[in-house]
């Protein structure tokens, strides 16, 4: 069964006819060809597929595209400024070596953006707890934690 879905992605209208079972991440990756959002597991554990839906971090592997009908979605491709300047959270990851292979990174950044809205000056413990739903196999989290603490301070509670 094919259904039409339409939503706003990175500020632009996006629509497609998809199978009803199409996951939001499938719509983003396959229909829109926005391949920065990744799939690292099939049990909603790893968080590589994290996007913002109406400003809130969600795992795009865990809902079907239809559930995002009419929503405002932000993916990693929509985070930097239009001229390519990195967002303060992205910049913090770069400055603090918060990424290695780069596969979990988009999910880490998207989750951190949501977290930092309500935690403008988080403690290390708060940051580690915020990463409950995001797995990284390269960095040992040490520098991701540093990155998010620095990024959150630079954001001052605003995306």
């Amino acid at each position: 069964m094919s259904v039409k879905v339409s939503m706003k992605v990175n500020g632009k209208p996006a629509a497609a006819d998809v199978e009803a079972r199409t996951l939001l991440v499938g719509f983003i990756r396959e229909n829109l060809r926005l391949t920065g959002t990744h799939v690292g597991c099939d049990t909603a554990q790893c968080g590589a597929c994290t996007v913002l839906m109406n400003g809130k971090a969600i795992k795009s592997c865990s809902i079907v595209a239809m559930q995002a009908e009419g929503a405002d979605i932000m993916t990693i491709e929509g985070v930097a400024k239009p001229d390519g300047t990195l967002h303060p959270m992205q910049q913090a990851f770069k400055e603090n070596h918060g990424l290695q292979c780069g596969f979990c990174t988009p999910g880490m950044v998207m989750n951190a953006l949501d977290f930092a809205k309500s935690h403008p000056n988080p403690s290390e413990k708060e940051v580690r707890e915020s990463l409950e739903g995001n797995l990284c196999r390269c960095t040992g989290y040490h520098n991701i934690v540093k990155s998010i603490m620095a990024g959150a301070r630079a954001m001052g509670g605003k995306i």
Binding site: V39, C46, I76, H97, F103, T139, Y141
Partner: protein
């Protein structure tokens, strides 16, 4: 002249694309006419395939083809080769049973591929795969190494399920030393089976061009040239020049993406049959059963000591689980990369190690971060710590009494350490970890109801694999050199092509630092290209912490040639004798004068050769080099771990972890620290949270992130790191490699700390809360 770049904390050149979602991983590649593959996998660990019916699947919507093992056999597609021949204790070659890409008549582990369905969409391919009917005659399965011999034969070629029995060292001398020992410490343990779990699952996307008669394979792989060589020469029988392998951005490897996998072979073969691009992307469930696993040793280890705690001999007997088939480098991991490291940092005069490698009905086992060396370090460092406790000698003091202090040092297990300073890393680690204050911290923990323990590990590893002739004499079926090319552009910027492959290590930055420093360029003027057999001249790839030591040296050798040619050009331009030209970081000078030419001027002259010695010198400035190392490199260090155990719940928290490593010269400390953080976390994972479990029928019980716990951010502490440098003596950069150290040293340090906290001799990894709690109950009872 620019500031020196060697040793500088340069931010990574590759970060921007990953941070903006512009990385290109294999699954991100969509080719014209793209189709999708799904594999039907065995649900049984050991079974005969009585019948196989694919008709319903063939008729399903969107399906283009269904292929089985019979199709591959008819097309004369060969089995997957093993890259290392081990010769057993009787001088016989190891048993090498066929490893078909799709099962032939029999399946030997859960997850083995039986058929592939190719369809217009991935969902259609998966749906259709479920329509394949298979009748199985289920056979008894064996999963544990210790029970493999005597179990139902898995391969006709190995009726006792034994691949080889291999030994290293002097057995008679070792036994004689044990007979005279004042004290013997013995431990029996399992080095737990691990699943590498790079967060990017494996993927392969192949396309065929009838016009060119050529294939292109995009694949999540650590060594694209090796992948191509194995696939063309041994499996598909294709001309190498007609196959391009691209390993684009790769989301972590940790060893698991070294190998040639059946899926890579099948999609490549199928792309020609269908004349379409065929993509397969693993999901995590498939990854758990089909990516090569790591470790899985059962070991008895004994250390003989004199009355002063001096090590007299080490005797080790290990049974290694290879899984159902020989993966690409499986055979060399529990032998060449294991037994040779058993000297550790110590002067133990005689060592004997015997390894029995067995087949079981489990996923093939191969190299995983550290590959043999974590297992060796675990043997040595658990024994040493236990011996110290038994003999009531301080564990630091017993290590000091046995350290190797002069170099080069020939061990009794084949390796010759070129350099090191184990006291330097130990001393620094003790200071940083404030070992003197431990008792106070322990008392404070106790007041909160927590048991605090401290553990050490002084590890060594052999990296920079390897001198090809040495490896060849030990059974390697390939060379282990590396290649690099420096292409200087007319305006003086540079593109470097390297046979090393980056999948998180930051080569695009580290290698650029090496080149920019030598040529006096800004780092932005140097780009690193890797991972494409059509661009890079050749490469043996990235594993065994070899990239900077071997790949980096190949680049330096090519740089030497660039500078040598540049001197000739500069001499001509400045009308001086070539012997009078001095070169330093981008500046060619005539010795004793103020005459000089910058690197960019020399490059320009090479490409616009109007004033140029064309009768003696070719135009252009482009050099390549192959480098074959003369020895391994030997990174070493000391790790100190402190844990707190909750007596009521058994929960263990790593409250402090100090690591002082000697990686030789460090090019980019920021990147090196990142490598150590990641390695330590995987090592802590092995010790505390990760462990494969099969049931008796061979079903993988720990087959998802719900059941197999790779560490989360709350499972690890902030790490305290430092380095000491004894430069490697046999490569020009003085580098040793840093990728695996953390995973090698951490498990022993953590387990030494936990056993100290609990006051028990040993406990198995992973030391989960349940296992620790049970150990506490047992002790109390």
């Amino acid at each position: 002249m620019n500031a020196p770049l060697i040793g500088a904390r340069i931010q990574r050149k590759e970060d921007y694309r990953f941070l903006t979602g512009a990385g290109q991983f294999t699954d991100d590649v969509a080719l014209p006419g793209q189709t999708h593959a799904a594999f039907l996998r065995s649900p049984h660990a050991h079974a005969k395939i009585a019948s196989l019916s694919i008709e319903k699947a063939r008729q399903a919507p969107g399906v283009l083809a269904v292929y089985t093992g019979a199709d591959l056999a008819a097309a004369k597609v060969g089995g997957l080769p093993c890259g290392w021949l081990i010769t057993d204790v009787n001088g016989q070659p190891m048993k090498e049973p066929p490893f078909p890409a799709l099962a032939q008549d029999k399946v030997r582990y859960v997850g083995e591929r039986i058929a592939v369905v190719i369809a217009d969409t991935a969902a259609q391919a998966r749906d259709a795969a479920e329509l394949i009917d298979v009748d199985y005659e289920v056979l008894p399965a064996v999963t544990e190494a210790s029970r493999a011999r005597g179990a139902a034969a898995i391969h006709d070629l190995a009726p006792d399920n034994t691949c080889y029995v291999w030994a290293l060292g002097d057995k008679a001398a070792t036994d004689a030393a044990f007979a005279k020992a004042a004290h013997v410490t013995r431990l029996d343990f399992v080095n737990n089976r691990l699943v590498p779990n790079a967060i990017e699952p494996r993927a392969a996307n192949a396309t065929y061009s009838r016009a060119e008669g050529s294939y292109t394979l995009y694949v999540s792989n650590q060594n694209p040239h090796v992948e191509r060589l194995l696939m063309t020469a041994f499996v598909l029988g294709l001309p190498e020049n007609k196959v391009r392998v691209v390993a684009p951005d790769v989301g972590g490897g940790f060893g698991s993406k070294i190998y040639l996998y059946p899926e890579d072979v099948v999609v490549t073969w199928a792309s020609k049959q269908l004349n379409r691009a065929v993509k397969w992307t693993s999901d995590r469930t498939e990854a758990f059963v089909s990516d090569a696993h790591g470790r899985d040793h059962v070991t008895t280890a004994e250390l003989a000591l004199d009355k002063n705690g001096k090590f007299l001999a080490l005797r080790v007997k290990t049974t290694a689980n290879l899984g159902a088939y020989l993966s690409t480098f499986a055979s060399c991991i529990p032998t060449i990369l294991y037994a040779t490291l058993l000297a550790g940092q110590y002067t133990t005069p005689v060592i004997y190690c015997e390894v029995t490698a067995v087949f079981t009905n489990t996923t093939p086992v191969d190299a995983y971060r550290g590959a043999g060396r974590p297992e060796a370090t675990y043997v040595v460092e658990r024994l040493v710590e236990t011996a110290a406790r038994e003999m009531k000698i301080d564990p630091v003091e017993i290590r000091r009494r046995n350290f190797i202090k002069s170099f080069p040092y020939q061990t009794p297990v084949a390796l010759c350490y070129d350099t090191g300073n184990y006291e330097a890393t130990l001393g620094a680690a003790l200071d940083m970890a404030d070992v003197g204050g431990f008792q106070k911290r322990k008392d404070e923990s106790l007041r909160r109801g927590k048991l605090r323990g401290i553990g050490y590990a002084c590890y060594i590893e052999a990296c920079g694999i390897a001198p090809s002739n040495v490896a060849g004499s030990l059974g390697a079926r390939a060379g282990l050199f590396e290649a690099g090319e420096i292409r200087v552009h007319p305006t003086g910027t540079v593109t470097v092509f390297t046979g090393s492959h980056q999948h998180g290590q930051g080569h695009e930055t580290t290698f650029a630092q090496v080149v920019a420093d030598r040529l006096g360029l800004a780092i932005e003027a140097v780009d690193i290209v890797h991972g494409d057999t059509s661009k890079v001249l050749f490469g043996m790839g990235t594993y065994g912490s070899r990239s900077i030591a071997v790949g980096g040296t190949a680049i330096v050798k090519a740089l030497d040639k660039i500078v040598a040619k540049g001197k000739k050009i500069a001499a001509h331009l400045m009308e001086a004798a070539e012997g009078d030209i001095e070169y330093d970081r981008g500046v060619f000078k005539v010795a004793g004068t103020d005459k000089q030419k910058m690197f960019g001027e020399v490059a320009f002259a090479a490409y616009v050769p109007h004033n140029y010695p064309l009768d003696k010198l070719e135009p252009g400035l482009n050099e390549n080099a192959f480098y074959d190392p003369t020895n391994f490199t030997f990174p070493a260090g000391t790790y100190v771990c402190e844990v707190e155990v909750d007596r009521d719940t058994g929960t263990t928290e790593v409250v402090a972890f100090t690591a002082v490593d000697d990686f030789g010269k460090v090019i980019n400390p920021m990147i090196v620290e990142g490598q150590v953080h990641g390695g330590l976390t995987q090592g802590i994972g092995q010790a505390l949270t990760e462990g494969c479990r099969y049931d008796e029928q061979g079903q993988l019980l720990s087959g998802s992130f719900n059941d197999y716990c790779i560490p989360r951010a709350t499972d690890v502490p902030n790490f305290k790191l430092d380095t000491r440098e004894t430069p490697c003596t046999h490569n020009p950069l003085g580098v040793k490699g840093c990728g695996e150290a953390g995973a090698i040293g951490a498990p022993a340090a953590v387990m030494n700390a936990i056993t100290d906290a609990l006051g028990v001799k040993d406990m198995p990894m992973p030391a989960t809360a349940h296992a620790v709690w049970r150990s506490l109950q047992k002790k109390a009872a």
